[in-house]
């Protein structure tokens, strides 16, 4: 039974995650990025052609814009109308009310006294990532 539902739509889900990853990589960069830079910034085993496909798709959707750099295109994200709406939602979330069932935030359930413990656990997580010991 585990993961059954994951197998039914792996492709669609995966392509959505990839688009998000590419977009996040572009936002993380300070300047426009050529596809090779995007490929490096996204990481993983992503093929160059896959990155190209996603970039073209995102450009068609108007989420990113491009400019010619030498013989290649360099891409950067666009601030769209949607970001304004998203920001309004964020403000709503920050009002301290119990989070609505429909919005699932990443950071939740914090109190200031937790900081010390979180810092030591962060060090532990980083140590494991470096040594590659998992689970």
């Amino acid at each position: 039974m585990p993961r059954r539902s994951d197998r039914s739509t792996p492709l669609r889900r995966r392509s959505g995650e990839l688009e998000a990853a590419v977009l996040a990589a572009l936002w993380a960069g300070d300047e426009s990025m050529v596809p090779a830079e995007v490929q490096a910034a996204v990481g993983g085993d992503l093929a160059y052609t896959t990155v190209m496909t996603i970039l073209v798709r995102l450009h068609d959707k108007g989420v990113i814009e491009r400019s010619k750099v030498g013989r290649a295109y360099a891409y950067r994200p666009v601030v769209t109308e949607e970001t304004v709406v998203a920001d309004q939602v964020r403000r709503l979330l920050a009002q301290g009310q119990d989070r609505a069932a429909v919005l699932q935030g990443f950071v939740d359930g914090l109190r200031p006294g937790d900081e010390q413990m979180l810092r030591s656990m962060l060090a532990e997580a980083d140590r494991r990532r470096v040594t590659g010991t998992e689970d």
């Binding site: 585990p2 993380a28 769209t80 301290g96 900081e115 962060l122 532990e124």
Partner: protein, 304 residues
């Protein structure tokens, strides 16, 4: 009908205790499913129990007695349920009705807001919308009717994380959308409106849903990566908090989640899930028997 009819209330208290245990002793997915199913079942059975307890008093209302073809005096004389219990149950039933009404309206409004936000965000059909804000924020918005949705991330969050951690956050939010966690929470909200004793279990469910999304994200990255992403975002968020009330103060949820990711996989006390669901099954059985007894009682007073 004895005391069987009171059993669902006692089992609700037991379920709240077991669901707390489930958050740390079950894989998150199993904990979330068993908690949600049990909450809904116990909300339903406690409502039926109230209806059964209230029935002798309701049956004495002249119109009801006329339709049921029994004498109000006979019901009062032979009822196995103390009149004071019935009176309390009637009041409780009225409260439940009004609470559910309010909650349904609130949920409808919430889903409508979410749908509107989602549709706005949908205009640019990229799965990720980035907002320019230095606070580390990430959340997912969906329509109640679909699995797909939009993920929103702040530039603060993006700048804070490295590429693997960004991927972890996206995978975490995607898991919320893909597994319809919004519906789990809405069901739990309704269950709490019906039976307020279940409120602590709702917090446990929410924690389990976050853990579920964390573990899901770990399968496409790794557990230390998700742990690092969570810890970084949390530490930064704490640093930015100026008033203690600005963030949701649900005890140690964030630290617990990071600790769970750094620990070995969750101990698989699968039996606990069945124990939790078992409580709901027992409650349903008790109510079935009590309903049967109630029917027989009314048949008896009709003949008398």
């Amino acid at each position: 009908m004895g005391h069987l009819v009171y059993l669902p209330f006692a089992l609700t208290v037991a379920a709240v205790v077991v669901s707390r245990l489930a958050t740390s002793r079950l894989p998150a997915r199993a904990a979330a499913w068993s908690t949600a199913v049990t909450m809904v079942a116990l909300a339903a059975t406690t409502t039926l129990a109230l209806a059964i307890l209230a029935s002798p008093l309701i049956a004495r209302v002249p119109l009801v007695a006329h339709l049921g073809r029994w004498r109000p005096a006979a019901v009062a004389l032979h009822s196995p349920i103390p009149a004071c219990s019935s009176a309390v149950a009637v009041v409780a039933l009225l409260l439940v009705c009004s609470r559910v009404g309010v909650e349904v309206q609130r949920l409808a409004r919430q889903f409508r807001d979410a749908a509107r936000t989602h549709d706005h965000l949908h205009a640019a059909p990229a799965p990720l919308v980035v907002i320019e804000d230095h606070t580390p924020v990430a959340y997912a918005v969906s329509r109640a009717t679909s699995r797909s949705g939009r993920i929103v991330m702040s530039t603060g969050m993006i700048d804070l994380l490295d590429r693997d951690e960004r991927h972890a956050v996206v995978a975490h939010e995607t898991a919320h959308l893909h597994h319809r966690h919004d519906l789990f929470l809405a069901a739990a909200d309704l269950a709490v409106a019906v039976n307020p004793l279940l409120r602590p279990a709702r917090a446990d469910l929410r924690y389990s849903l976050e853990r579920w999304a964390d573990e899901d994200a770990a399968t496409s990255t790794s557990r230390p990566v998700v742990a690092a992403a969570l810890a970084k975002a949390a530490v930064t968020a704490i640093g930015l908090v100026t008033t203690p009330g600005a963030l949701h103060l649900h005890s140690h949820d964030m630290t617990r989640r990071v600790a769970a990711l750094l620990a070995d996989g969750p101990p698989a006390h699968r039996r606990l899930a069945w124990g939790l669901v078992g409580l709901a099954v027992v409650a349903a059985g008790a109510i079935a028997l009590a309903t049967h007894d109630t029917e027989r009682f009314f048949e008896a007073v009709r003949r008398s």
